[in-house]
Protein backbone atom coordinates (compact mmCIF):
# COMPACT_ATOMS: atom_id res chain seq x y z
CA UNK A 1 0.00 0.00 0.00
CA UNK A 2 2.72 2.38 1.04
CA UNK A 3 4.65 1.71 -2.11
CA UNK A 4 1.59 2.37 -4.24
CA UNK A 5 0.92 5.55 -2.32
CA UNK A 6 4.41 6.90 -2.86
CA UNK A 7 4.31 5.87 -6.51
CA UNK A 8 1.09 7.80 -6.78
CA UNK A 9 2.66 10.92 -5.25
CA UNK A 10 5.59 10.67 -7.62
CA UNK A 11 3.40 10.37 -10.69
CA UNK A 12 1.31 13.23 -9.39
CA UNK A 13 4.37 15.46 -9.01
CA UNK A 14 5.60 14.49 -12.49
CA UNK A 15 2.25 15.45 -13.92
CA UNK A 16 2.33 18.69 -11.97
CA UNK A 17 5.86 19.44 -13.17
CA UNK A 18 4.79 18.79 -16.75
CA UNK A 19 1.80 21.14 -16.36
CA UNK A 20 4.13 23.79 -14.88
CA UNK A 21 6.54 23.51 -17.80
CA UNK A 22 3.73 23.74 -20.35
CA UNK A 23 2.16 26.73 -18.57
CA UNK A 24 5.48 28.61 -18.38
CA UNK A 25 6.89 27.43 -21.68
CA UNK A 26 7.52 30.95 -22.96
CA UNK A 27 9.49 32.01 -19.88
CA UNK A 28 11.43 28.76 -19.86
CA UNK A 29 12.22 29.11 -23.56
CA UNK A 30 13.46 32.66 -23.04
CA UNK A 31 15.58 31.68 -20.05
CA UNK A 32 17.03 28.74 -21.98
CA UNK A 33 18.05 31.06 -24.82
CA UNK A 34 19.56 33.47 -22.28
CA UNK A 35 21.49 30.62 -20.69
CA UNK A 36 22.76 29.40 -24.05
CA UNK A 37 23.82 32.91 -25.03
CA UNK A 38 25.72 33.37 -21.76
CA UNK A 39 27.54 30.04 -22.11
CA UNK A 40 28.23 30.27 -25.84
CA UNK A 41 29.58 33.81 -25.61
CA UNK A 42 31.86 32.87 -22.73
CA UNK A 43 32.97 29.66 -24.51
CA UNK A 44 33.62 31.49 -27.78
CA UNK A 45 35.83 34.10 -26.11
CA UNK A 46 37.52 31.48 -23.92
CA UNK A 47 38.57 29.31 -26.84
CA UNK A 48 40.36 32.23 -28.52
CA UNK A 49 42.09 33.42 -25.34
CA UNK A 50 42.81 29.86 -24.18
CA UNK A 51 44.25 28.60 -27.48
CA UNK A 52 46.36 31.75 -27.86
CA UNK A 53 47.79 31.30 -24.35
CA UNK A 54 48.22 27.56 -24.86
CA UNK A 55 50.22 28.07 -28.04
CA UNK A 56 52.32 30.90 -26.63
CA UNK A 57 53.45 28.89 -23.62
CA UNK A 58 54.70 25.99 -25.77
CA UNK A 59 57.61 28.29 -26.69
CA UNK A 60 58.63 28.95 -23.09
CA UNK A 61 58.73 26.34 -20.33
CA UNK A 62 58.83 28.88 -17.49
CA UNK A 63 55.84 30.81 -18.82
CA UNK A 64 54.04 27.49 -19.24
CA UNK A 65 54.33 26.53 -15.58
CA UNK A 66 53.27 30.02 -14.44
CA UNK A 67 50.26 30.29 -16.77
CA UNK A 68 49.09 26.75 -15.99
CA UNK A 69 49.40 27.43 -12.23
CA UNK A 70 47.33 30.63 -12.55
CA UNK A 71 44.64 28.79 -14.53
CA UNK A 72 44.64 26.06 -11.90
CA UNK A 73 44.12 28.63 -9.13
CA UNK A 74 41.29 30.32 -11.09
CA UNK A 75 39.59 26.98 -11.42
CA UNK A 76 39.65 26.20 -7.68
CA UNK A 77 38.16 29.54 -6.61
CA UNK A 78 34.57 28.74 -5.52
CA UNK A 79 32.05 30.17 -7.97
CA UNK A 80 30.31 32.41 -5.47
CA UNK A 81 33.66 33.86 -4.41
CA UNK A 82 34.65 34.40 -8.05
CA UNK A 83 31.44 36.33 -8.71
CA UNK A 84 32.07 38.32 -5.56
CA UNK A 85 35.54 39.29 -6.77
CA UNK A 86 34.24 40.40 -10.15
CA UNK A 87 31.32 42.57 -9.00
CA UNK A 88 33.49 45.52 -7.80
CA UNK A 89 35.09 45.68 -11.25
CA UNK A 90 32.32 44.79 -13.65
CA UNK A 91 29.18 45.42 -11.57
CA UNK A 92 26.16 43.23 -11.07
CA UNK A 93 24.84 41.54 -14.20
CA UNK A 94 25.66 39.82 -17.47
CA UNK A 95 29.27 41.09 -17.88
CA UNK A 96 30.48 39.70 -14.57
CA UNK A 97 28.73 36.42 -15.33
CA UNK A 98 30.40 36.04 -18.73
CA UNK A 99 33.83 36.94 -17.36
CA UNK A 100 33.50 34.42 -14.54
CA UNK A 101 32.61 31.70 -17.04
CA UNK A 102 35.55 32.65 -19.30
CA UNK A 103 37.95 32.41 -16.35
CA UNK A 104 36.61 28.97 -15.42
CA UNK A 105 36.93 27.60 -18.94
CA UNK A 106 40.53 28.78 -19.38
CA UNK A 107 42.29 25.91 -17.62
CA UNK A 108 40.94 23.02 -19.70
CA UNK A 109 41.40 24.94 -22.95
CA UNK A 110 44.90 26.26 -22.18
CA UNK A 111 46.09 22.95 -20.72
CA UNK A 112 44.76 20.86 -23.59
CA UNK A 113 46.17 23.21 -26.22
CA UNK A 114 49.54 23.03 -24.50
CA UNK A 115 49.61 19.25 -24.08
CA UNK A 116 48.11 18.71 -27.54
CA UNK A 117 51.06 20.51 -29.10
CA UNK A 118 53.64 19.04 -26.70
CA UNK A 119 52.50 15.52 -27.52
CA UNK A 120 53.15 15.83 -31.26
CA UNK A 121 56.04 13.41 -31.96
CA UNK A 122 59.25 15.47 -32.21
CA UNK A 123 60.27 13.80 -35.48
CA UNK A 124 57.20 15.19 -37.26
CA UNK A 125 58.27 18.70 -36.31
CA UNK A 126 61.89 17.92 -37.17
CA UNK A 127 60.82 16.81 -40.64
CA UNK A 128 58.71 19.96 -41.04
CA UNK A 129 61.54 22.28 -40.01
CA UNK A 130 64.14 20.28 -41.91
CA UNK A 131 62.18 20.70 -45.14
CA UNK A 132 62.20 24.45 -44.75
CA UNK A 133 58.76 25.25 -43.39
CA UNK A 134 58.67 28.56 -41.51
CA UNK A 135 57.60 28.53 -37.85
CA UNK A 136 54.27 30.13 -38.82
CA UNK A 137 53.65 27.43 -41.42
CA UNK A 138 54.56 24.69 -38.94
CA UNK A 139 52.16 26.18 -36.39
CA UNK A 140 49.23 26.65 -38.78
CA UNK A 141 49.64 23.58 -40.98
CA UNK A 142 51.09 21.02 -38.59
CA UNK A 143 50.85 21.88 -34.90
CA UNK A 144 47.30 23.24 -34.67
CA UNK A 145 45.69 20.62 -36.95
CA UNK A 146 47.42 17.80 -35.06
CA UNK A 147 46.52 19.24 -31.63
CA UNK A 148 42.93 20.01 -32.66
CA UNK A 149 41.29 16.84 -31.26
CA UNK A 150 42.96 17.46 -27.88
CA UNK A 151 42.03 21.15 -27.95
CA UNK A 152 38.47 20.17 -28.78
CA UNK A 153 38.36 17.74 -25.82
CA UNK A 154 39.41 20.56 -23.50
CA UNK A 155 36.79 22.87 -24.97
CA UNK A 156 34.15 20.19 -24.43
CA UNK A 157 35.09 19.78 -20.76
CA UNK A 158 35.00 23.57 -20.32
CA UNK A 159 31.61 23.99 -22.02
CA UNK A 160 29.88 21.26 -20.03
CA UNK A 161 31.32 22.73 -16.85
CA UNK A 162 30.22 26.31 -17.51
CA UNK A 163 26.69 25.24 -18.42
CA UNK A 164 26.44 24.23 -14.75
CA UNK A 165 28.33 27.19 -13.30
CA UNK A 166 26.21 29.47 -15.51
CA UNK A 167 23.24 28.66 -13.28
CA UNK A 168 25.01 30.26 -10.33
CA UNK A 169 25.72 33.39 -12.39
CA UNK A 170 21.97 34.06 -12.29
CA UNK A 171 22.48 34.99 -8.62
CA UNK A 172 24.29 38.17 -9.64
CA UNK A 173 21.70 38.92 -12.30
CA UNK A 174 23.43 37.42 -15.30
CA UNK A 175 20.14 35.76 -16.30
CA UNK A 176 19.57 32.27 -17.59
CA UNK A 177 17.93 29.14 -16.21
CA UNK A 178 19.58 29.70 -12.83
CA UNK A 179 16.88 32.34 -12.24
CA UNK A 180 14.21 29.62 -12.12
CA UNK A 181 16.19 27.78 -9.48
CA UNK A 182 16.94 30.80 -7.29
CA UNK A 183 13.37 32.10 -7.52
CA UNK A 184 12.03 28.66 -6.79
CA UNK A 185 14.17 28.41 -3.65
CA UNK A 186 13.25 31.84 -2.31
CA UNK A 187 9.53 31.26 -2.94
CA UNK A 188 9.57 27.59 -1.89
CA UNK A 189 8.28 26.46 -5.28
CA UNK A 190 9.96 23.10 -5.89
CA UNK A 191 8.45 22.91 -9.40
CA UNK A 192 10.44 25.95 -10.52
CA UNK A 193 13.65 24.50 -9.06
CA UNK A 194 12.98 21.20 -10.80
CA UNK A 195 12.20 22.79 -14.16
CA UNK A 196 15.40 24.88 -14.03
CA UNK A 197 17.52 21.89 -13.04
CA UNK A 198 16.06 19.69 -15.76
CA UNK A 199 16.66 22.18 -18.56
CA UNK A 200 20.19 22.98 -17.39
CA UNK A 201 20.98 19.25 -17.36
CA UNK A 202 19.49 18.87 -20.83
CA UNK A 203 21.68 21.70 -22.19
CA UNK A 204 24.75 20.12 -20.58
CA UNK A 205 23.92 16.71 -22.06
CA UNK A 206 23.36 18.08 -25.55
CA UNK A 207 26.52 20.20 -25.41
CA UNK A 208 28.49 17.12 -24.42
CA UNK A 209 26.89 15.04 -27.15
CA UNK A 210 27.43 17.53 -29.98
CA UNK A 211 30.99 18.45 -29.02
CA UNK A 212 31.77 14.74 -28.53
CA UNK A 213 30.62 14.06 -32.10
CA UNK A 214 32.85 16.85 -33.44
CA UNK A 215 35.78 15.51 -31.42
CA UNK A 216 35.31 12.01 -32.86
CA UNK A 217 35.26 13.39 -36.37
CA UNK A 218 38.50 15.32 -35.77
CA UNK A 219 40.15 12.23 -34.31
CA UNK A 220 39.12 10.14 -37.30
CA UNK A 221 40.85 12.68 -39.54
CA UNK A 222 44.24 12.28 -37.94
CA UNK A 223 44.26 8.49 -37.83
Amino acid sequence: MRLLESLGTISQSIAELFRFIVARQETIFELTLEHLWLVLLAGFIAIFIGVAFGITITYNKKAASIVLAICQILMVVPSFAMLGFLIPFFGIGFTSGVIALILYSLLPVVRNTYTGIQEIPPYILEAAHGMGMSETAVLLKIKIPLALPTIMAGFRTAMVMIVGIGAIAAYIGAGGLGELIFHGISRTQPMRVMAGAIFISLIALFTDLILGKIEDRLLARTR
Binding site: P121, Y123, I124, L125, A127, M131, I142, T222
Partner: protein
Protein backbone atom coordinates in the same frame (compact mmCIF):
# COMPACT_ATOMS: atom_id res chain seq x y z
CA UNK B 1 79.22 20.60 -53.89
CA UNK B 2 79.37 20.36 -50.09
CA UNK B 3 82.47 21.42 -48.20
CA UNK B 4 83.06 21.30 -44.46
CA UNK B 5 86.08 23.22 -43.18
CA UNK B 6 87.39 22.77 -39.65
CA UNK B 7 83.85 22.28 -38.39
CA UNK B 8 83.47 21.86 -34.63
CA UNK B 9 80.19 21.57 -32.78
CA UNK B 10 80.03 21.84 -29.03
CA UNK B 11 76.66 21.61 -27.35
CA UNK B 12 76.17 23.82 -24.31
CA UNK B 13 76.68 21.84 -21.12
CA UNK B 14 78.85 19.10 -22.60
CA UNK B 15 82.61 19.05 -22.11
CA UNK B 16 83.71 17.24 -25.25
CA UNK B 17 82.64 18.49 -28.66
CA UNK B 18 80.14 16.34 -30.57
CA UNK B 19 82.08 17.01 -33.78
CA UNK B 20 85.62 18.32 -33.78
CA UNK B 21 87.75 19.85 -36.55
CA UNK B 22 85.89 18.03 -39.28
CA UNK B 23 86.99 18.48 -42.89
CA UNK B 24 85.17 16.96 -45.82
CA UNK B 25 84.53 17.63 -49.47
CA UNK B 26 81.64 15.89 -51.20
CA UNK B 27 81.54 15.90 -54.99
CA UNK B 28 78.42 16.61 -57.03
CA UNK B 29 76.28 13.54 -57.73
CA UNK B 30 77.97 11.35 -55.10
CA UNK B 31 76.50 9.47 -52.21
CA UNK B 32 78.68 10.11 -49.18
CA UNK B 33 77.89 7.81 -46.26
CA UNK B 34 78.75 8.84 -42.71
CA UNK B 35 79.15 5.67 -40.69
CA UNK B 36 80.16 4.97 -37.13
CA UNK B 37 78.87 3.79 -33.75
CA UNK B 38 76.05 5.74 -32.12
CA UNK B 39 77.19 8.99 -30.57
CA UNK B 40 80.06 9.41 -33.04
CA UNK B 41 78.62 12.69 -34.30
CA UNK B 42 77.40 11.53 -37.71
CA UNK B 43 73.87 12.86 -37.32
CA UNK B 44 75.15 16.09 -35.77
CA UNK B 45 77.45 16.58 -38.76
CA UNK B 46 74.58 16.03 -41.15
CA UNK B 47 72.23 18.38 -39.32
CA UNK B 48 74.77 21.18 -39.53
CA UNK B 49 74.50 21.08 -43.33
CA UNK B 50 70.87 22.27 -43.27
CA UNK B 51 71.42 24.43 -40.17
CA UNK B 52 69.21 22.40 -37.85
CA UNK B 53 72.38 22.74 -35.78
CA UNK B 54 74.85 25.53 -36.28
CA UNK B 55 78.60 24.88 -36.11
CA UNK B 56 80.42 26.43 -33.15
CA UNK B 57 83.58 26.86 -35.22
CA UNK B 58 84.31 26.40 -38.92
CA UNK B 59 82.52 26.92 -42.22
CA UNK B 60 80.20 24.87 -44.36
CA UNK B 61 79.70 25.61 -48.04
CA UNK B 62 76.92 24.24 -50.19
CA UNK B 63 77.42 24.91 -53.89
CA UNK B 64 80.20 27.35 -53.05
CA UNK B 65 78.04 29.46 -50.76
CA UNK B 66 78.66 29.79 -47.03
CA UNK B 67 75.46 28.44 -45.49
CA UNK B 68 75.57 31.01 -42.69
CA UNK B 69 74.92 33.67 -45.36
CA UNK B 70 71.72 31.95 -46.50
CA UNK B 71 68.41 32.27 -44.70
CA UNK B 72 67.94 28.85 -43.02
CA UNK B 73 64.44 28.40 -44.42
CA UNK B 74 65.58 29.16 -47.96
CA UNK B 75 68.61 26.90 -47.49
CA UNK B 76 66.48 23.97 -46.30
CA UNK B 77 64.06 24.26 -49.21
CA UNK B 78 67.04 23.52 -51.46
CA UNK B 79 68.08 20.46 -49.42
CA UNK B 80 65.87 17.37 -49.26
CA UNK B 81 65.61 15.81 -45.81
CA UNK B 82 64.69 12.22 -44.96
CA UNK B 83 64.83 10.82 -41.42
CA UNK B 84 64.46 7.34 -40.00
CA UNK B 85 61.03 8.03 -38.48
CA UNK B 86 60.07 9.62 -41.83
CA UNK B 87 57.87 12.18 -40.06
CA UNK B 88 55.04 12.14 -42.56
CA UNK B 89 52.18 14.41 -41.52
CA UNK B 90 49.42 12.00 -40.44
CA UNK B 91 46.59 14.51 -40.97
CA UNK B 92 47.48 15.16 -44.61
CA UNK B 93 47.08 12.83 -47.59
CA UNK B 94 50.08 11.32 -49.37
CA UNK B 95 49.69 13.94 -52.15
CA UNK B 96 49.54 16.80 -49.66
CA UNK B 97 52.60 15.46 -47.85
CA UNK B 98 54.62 15.35 -51.05
CA UNK B 99 53.34 18.82 -52.01
CA UNK B 100 54.62 20.40 -48.76
CA UNK B 101 57.68 22.23 -50.07
CA UNK B 102 56.20 23.20 -53.49
CA UNK B 103 53.28 24.72 -51.57
CA UNK B 104 55.63 26.65 -49.33
CA UNK B 105 57.35 27.85 -52.51
CA UNK B 106 53.94 28.93 -53.83
CA UNK B 107 54.10 26.95 -57.05
CA UNK B 108 50.96 27.13 -59.22
CA UNK B 109 48.42 24.45 -58.42
CA UNK B 110 48.62 22.44 -61.65
CA UNK B 111 52.42 22.43 -61.55
CA UNK B 112 52.28 20.97 -58.02
CA UNK B 113 49.75 18.33 -59.09
CA UNK B 114 51.89 17.25 -62.02
CA UNK B 115 55.06 17.14 -59.95
CA UNK B 116 53.40 15.10 -57.17
CA UNK B 117 52.10 12.50 -59.62
CA UNK B 118 55.46 12.27 -61.34
CA UNK B 119 57.27 11.81 -58.01
CA UNK B 120 54.89 9.14 -56.72
CA UNK B 121 55.38 7.16 -59.93
CA UNK B 122 59.13 7.66 -59.64
CA UNK B 123 59.23 6.03 -56.21
CA UNK B 124 56.95 3.21 -57.37
CA UNK B 125 53.59 4.31 -55.96
CA UNK B 126 50.41 4.71 -57.98
CA UNK B 127 49.02 8.25 -57.51
CA UNK B 128 45.52 6.93 -58.27
CA UNK B 129 45.68 4.31 -55.53
CA UNK B 130 47.89 5.89 -52.89
CA UNK B 131 47.63 9.63 -53.53
CA UNK B 132 44.47 10.27 -51.55
CA UNK B 133 45.32 7.95 -48.66
CA UNK B 134 46.70 9.06 -45.34
CA UNK B 135 50.16 7.92 -44.24
CA UNK B 136 49.04 5.74 -41.29
CA UNK B 137 47.23 3.43 -43.73
CA UNK B 138 50.42 2.71 -45.68
CA UNK B 139 53.02 0.00 -44.99
CA UNK B 140 56.44 0.98 -43.63
CA UNK B 141 58.06 0.58 -47.03
CA UNK B 142 55.40 2.69 -48.74
CA UNK B 143 55.74 5.41 -46.10
CA UNK B 144 59.47 5.44 -46.71
CA UNK B 145 58.89 5.91 -50.44
CA UNK B 146 56.53 8.82 -49.74
CA UNK B 147 59.22 10.30 -47.48
CA UNK B 148 61.76 10.13 -50.29
CA UNK B 149 59.27 11.60 -52.78
CA UNK B 150 58.50 14.43 -50.36
CA UNK B 151 62.18 15.23 -49.91
CA UNK B 152 62.68 15.46 -53.67
CA UNK B 153 59.53 17.49 -54.35
CA UNK B 154 61.18 20.79 -55.23
CA UNK B 155 64.04 18.98 -57.01
CA UNK B 156 66.76 19.99 -54.53
CA UNK B 157 70.32 19.28 -55.70
CA UNK B 158 71.26 17.94 -52.26
CA UNK B 159 69.60 15.24 -50.11
CA UNK B 160 70.30 14.54 -46.45
CA UNK B 161 69.24 11.07 -45.34
CA UNK B 162 69.46 9.98 -41.71
CA UNK B 163 69.11 6.18 -41.48
CA UNK B 164 66.34 6.42 -44.08
CA UNK B 165 65.79 2.68 -44.33
CA UNK B 166 66.36 1.90 -40.66
CA UNK B 167 62.72 1.42 -39.64
CA UNK B 168 61.70 -1.28 -42.14
CA UNK B 169 62.26 -5.03 -42.14
CA UNK B 170 65.47 -6.38 -43.73
CA UNK B 171 63.80 -7.65 -46.93
CA UNK B 172 62.01 -4.36 -47.59
CA UNK B 173 65.20 -2.51 -46.68
CA UNK B 174 67.20 -4.39 -49.31
CA UNK B 175 64.55 -3.68 -51.92
CA UNK B 176 64.32 0.03 -51.00
CA UNK B 177 68.11 0.32 -51.14
CA UNK B 178 68.22 -1.19 -54.63
CA UNK B 179 65.35 0.98 -55.81
CA UNK B 180 67.00 4.05 -54.41
CA UNK B 181 70.32 3.30 -56.10
CA UNK B 182 68.45 2.80 -59.39
CA UNK B 183 66.69 6.13 -58.82
CA UNK B 184 69.96 7.87 -58.02
CA UNK B 185 71.33 6.86 -61.44
CA UNK B 186 68.62 9.07 -62.97
CA UNK B 187 68.46 11.94 -60.48
CA UNK B 188 72.20 12.27 -59.73
CA UNK B 189 71.73 14.10 -56.42
CA UNK B 190 74.51 14.90 -54.03
CA UNK B 191 73.61 12.84 -51.00
CA UNK B 192 74.78 12.77 -47.41
CA UNK B 193 73.66 9.45 -45.97
CA UNK B 194 73.95 8.58 -42.29
CA UNK B 195 73.91 4.99 -41.04
CA UNK B 196 75.39 2.82 -38.32
CA UNK B 197 75.19 -0.24 -40.55
CA UNK B 198 78.49 -0.88 -42.34
CA UNK B 199 76.83 -3.21 -44.86
CA UNK B 200 74.45 -0.44 -45.86
CA UNK B 201 77.34 2.02 -46.05
CA UNK B 202 79.31 -0.26 -48.38
CA UNK B 203 76.30 -0.88 -50.55
CA UNK B 204 75.03 2.69 -50.82
CA UNK B 205 78.16 4.82 -50.72
CA UNK B 206 80.37 6.19 -53.49
CA UNK B 207 82.47 7.41 -50.58
CA UNK B 208 82.40 6.42 -46.94
CA UNK B 209 83.38 8.53 -43.95
CA UNK B 210 84.22 6.40 -40.92
CA UNK B 211 83.67 8.48 -37.78
CA UNK B 212 84.62 8.04 -34.16
CA UNK B 213 84.06 10.40 -31.25
CA UNK B 214 83.32 13.37 -33.47
CA UNK B 215 86.38 12.88 -35.64
CA UNK B 216 86.82 11.76 -39.23
CA UNK B 217 88.94 8.60 -39.13
CA UNK B 218 88.93 7.55 -42.77
CA UNK B 219 87.42 8.98 -45.94
CA UNK B 220 87.58 6.45 -48.75
CA UNK B 221 85.70 4.52 -51.39
CA UNK B 222 83.99 1.34 -50.12
CA UNK B 223 86.61 -0.71 -51.94
CA UNK B 224 89.51 1.09 -50.24
CA UNK B 225 87.80 0.88 -46.89
CA UNK B 226 87.49 -2.90 -47.27
CA UNK B 227 90.97 -3.50 -48.62
CA UNK B 228 93.00 -1.00 -46.61
CA UNK B 229 91.32 0.06 -43.38
CA UNK B 230 93.38 2.86 -41.88
CA UNK B 231 93.51 1.62 -38.29
CA UNK B 232 92.10 -0.93 -35.85
CA UNK B 233 88.92 1.07 -35.38
CA UNK B 234 88.05 1.01 -39.06
CA UNK B 235 89.11 -2.63 -39.36
CA UNK B 236 86.76 -3.52 -36.52
CA UNK B 237 83.99 -1.39 -38.03
CA UNK B 238 84.36 -3.17 -41.34
CA UNK B 239 84.44 -6.53 -39.60
CA UNK B 240 86.17 -9.78 -40.32
CA UNK B 241 84.23 -11.18 -43.25
CA UNK B 242 85.34 -8.54 -45.70
CA UNK B 243 85.13 -10.79 -48.74
CA UNK B 244 81.45 -11.36 -48.08
CA UNK B 245 80.95 -7.61 -47.62
CA UNK B 246 82.63 -7.06 -50.96
CA UNK B 247 79.66 -8.84 -52.52
CA UNK B 248 77.68 -5.68 -51.69
CA UNK B 249 79.77 -3.86 -54.26
CA UNK B 250 79.03 -6.15 -57.20
CA UNK B 251 75.73 -6.08 -59.08
CA UNK B 252 73.99 -9.26 -60.18
CA UNK B 253 74.53 -8.31 -63.83
CA UNK B 254 78.27 -8.85 -63.46
CA UNK B 255 77.85 -12.58 -62.77
CA UNK B 256 74.88 -13.24 -65.02
CA UNK B 257 74.75 -16.24 -67.39
CA UNK B 258 72.75 -14.74 -70.19
CA UNK B 259 72.51 -17.51 -72.75
CA UNK B 260 69.93 -19.65 -71.00
CA UNK B 261 67.21 -20.91 -73.31
CA UNK B 262 63.71 -20.76 -71.96
CA UNK B 263 60.42 -22.34 -72.91
CA UNK B 264 57.25 -20.64 -74.06
CA UNK B 265 53.97 -21.34 -72.32
CA UNK B 266 52.72 -23.56 -75.15
CA UNK B 267 55.90 -25.55 -75.88
CA UNK B 268 55.43 -29.30 -76.11
CA UNK B 269 56.82 -31.90 -73.75
CA UNK B 270 59.45 -33.04 -76.24
CA UNK B 271 60.76 -29.50 -76.57
CA UNK B 272 60.80 -29.10 -72.80
CA UNK B 273 62.72 -32.34 -72.36
CA UNK B 274 65.34 -31.09 -74.76
CA UNK B 275 65.63 -27.77 -72.95
CA UNK B 276 66.07 -29.54 -69.62
CA UNK B 277 68.78 -31.75 -71.02
CA UNK B 278 70.70 -28.75 -72.37
CA UNK B 279 70.32 -26.67 -69.22
CA UNK B 280 73.23 -26.84 -66.74
CA UNK B 281 70.82 -26.92 -63.79
CA UNK B 282 68.53 -29.49 -65.44
CA UNK B 283 65.50 -27.23 -65.31
CA UNK B 284 63.78 -25.00 -67.84
CA UNK B 285 62.38 -21.55 -67.22
CA UNK B 286 58.98 -20.76 -68.65
CA UNK B 287 58.23 -17.26 -69.96
CA UNK B 288 55.20 -15.64 -71.59
CA UNK B 289 55.14 -13.68 -74.90
CA UNK B 290 56.61 -10.62 -73.18
CA UNK B 291 59.47 -12.78 -71.85
CA UNK B 292 58.12 -12.40 -68.29
CA UNK B 293 59.18 -15.23 -66.02
CA UNK B 294 56.24 -17.48 -65.18
CA UNK B 295 57.86 -20.42 -63.43
CA UNK B 296 60.20 -23.34 -63.75
CA UNK B 297 59.95 -26.98 -64.84
CA UNK B 298 62.30 -29.61 -63.45
CA UNK B 299 62.49 -33.28 -64.33
CA UNK B 300 60.57 -34.02 -61.17
CA UNK B 301 57.68 -31.81 -62.32
CA UNK B 302 57.47 -33.82 -65.52
CA UNK B 303 57.10 -37.09 -63.66
CA UNK B 304 54.70 -35.76 -61.07
CA UNK B 305 52.24 -34.54 -63.62
CA UNK B 306 52.32 -37.75 -65.54
CA UNK B 307 53.13 -35.75 -68.62
CA UNK B 308 55.46 -38.41 -69.93
CA UNK B 309 52.59 -40.84 -70.27
CA UNK B 310 50.77 -38.85 -72.92
CA UNK B 311 53.28 -36.33 -74.27
CA UNK B 312 51.01 -35.19 -77.10
CA UNK B 313 48.61 -33.17 -74.98
CA UNK B 314 50.78 -31.56 -72.33
CA UNK B 315 52.32 -28.11 -72.83
CA UNK B 316 54.61 -26.00 -70.65
CA UNK B 317 51.69 -24.02 -69.17
CA UNK B 318 50.41 -27.22 -67.46
CA UNK B 319 53.74 -28.23 -66.03
CA UNK B 320 55.56 -25.30 -64.50
CA UNK B 321 55.72 -24.59 -60.76
CA UNK B 322 56.22 -21.18 -59.12
CA UNK B 323 59.75 -20.02 -58.68
CA UNK B 324 60.76 -18.38 -55.41
CA UNK B 325 64.53 -18.21 -55.83
CA UNK B 326 64.73 -15.16 -58.07
CA UNK B 327 66.29 -11.73 -57.67
CA UNK B 328 66.29 -8.44 -59.57
CA UNK B 329 69.05 -7.57 -62.00
CA UNK B 330 70.13 -4.51 -60.01
CA UNK B 331 70.39 -6.34 -56.68
CA UNK B 332 73.85 -7.03 -55.32
CA UNK B 333 75.63 -10.38 -55.30
CA UNK B 334 75.12 -10.35 -51.56
CA UNK B 335 71.34 -10.31 -52.11
CA UNK B 336 71.67 -13.07 -54.72
CA UNK B 337 73.75 -15.21 -52.39
CA UNK B 338 71.27 -14.87 -49.54
CA UNK B 339 68.40 -15.84 -51.84
CA UNK B 340 70.43 -18.88 -52.92
CA UNK B 341 71.09 -19.91 -49.33
CA UNK B 342 67.51 -19.21 -48.20
CA UNK B 343 66.01 -21.52 -50.80
CA UNK B 344 68.81 -24.07 -50.84
CA UNK B 345 69.02 -24.05 -54.63
CA UNK B 346 72.25 -23.98 -56.61
CA UNK B 347 71.07 -21.09 -58.76
CA UNK B 348 69.05 -17.88 -58.68
CA UNK B 349 66.97 -16.65 -61.61
CA UNK B 350 67.49 -12.99 -62.46
CA UNK B 351 64.68 -10.77 -63.75
CA UNK B 352 64.55 -7.08 -64.68
CA UNK B 353 62.19 -4.40 -63.39
CA UNK B 354 59.45 -5.60 -65.77
CA UNK B 355 59.84 -9.20 -64.52
CA UNK B 356 61.47 -10.28 -67.78
CA UNK B 357 63.84 -13.24 -67.49
CA UNK B 358 67.48 -12.20 -67.89
CA UNK B 359 69.44 -15.33 -66.96
CA UNK B 360 70.71 -17.23 -63.94
CA UNK B 361 73.53 -16.99 -61.44
CA UNK B 362 75.05 -20.08 -59.85
CA UNK B 363 77.33 -20.33 -56.85
CA UNK B 364 80.21 -20.97 -59.30
CA UNK B 365 79.47 -17.68 -61.09
CA UNK B 366 79.70 -15.78 -57.82
CA UNK B 367 83.03 -17.38 -56.94
CA UNK B 368 84.32 -16.59 -60.40
CA UNK B 369 83.44 -12.89 -60.15
CA UNK B 370 84.87 -12.58 -56.64
CA UNK B 371 88.13 -14.21 -57.80
CA UNK B 372 88.56 -11.91 -60.78
CA UNK B 373 87.66 -8.93 -58.62
CA UNK B 374 90.28 -9.80 -56.05
CA UNK B 375 92.90 -10.18 -58.79
CA UNK B 376 92.18 -6.79 -60.32
CA UNK B 377 92.10 -5.00 -56.93
Amino acid sequence: MITLEHVTKKFPGSKTPAVSDFNLEIKKGEICVLVGPSGCGKTTTMKMINRLYEPSIGNIYVNGQDIMDINPIKLRRGIGYVIQEIGLFPHLTVEENVATVPRELKWPRDKIKKRVEQLLRLVGLDPEIHGKRRPPSLSGGQQQRVGVARAMAADPPVLLMDEPFGAVDPITRGRLQNEFLRLQQHIQKTIVFVTHDIDEAIKMGNKIVAMREGKLVQYATPDELLSTPKDDFVAKLVGRNRSIKRLHLIRAEAALQKSIACANLNDSVNKIKKYIKDNPMNVVFVVDDQKRLQGVISEKDMEKNGALDNPQNAIAADLFTDLANFSHHDSTLNDVLSVMLNYGEGYVAIIDEKERFKGIITLGDILEVVKSNANSA
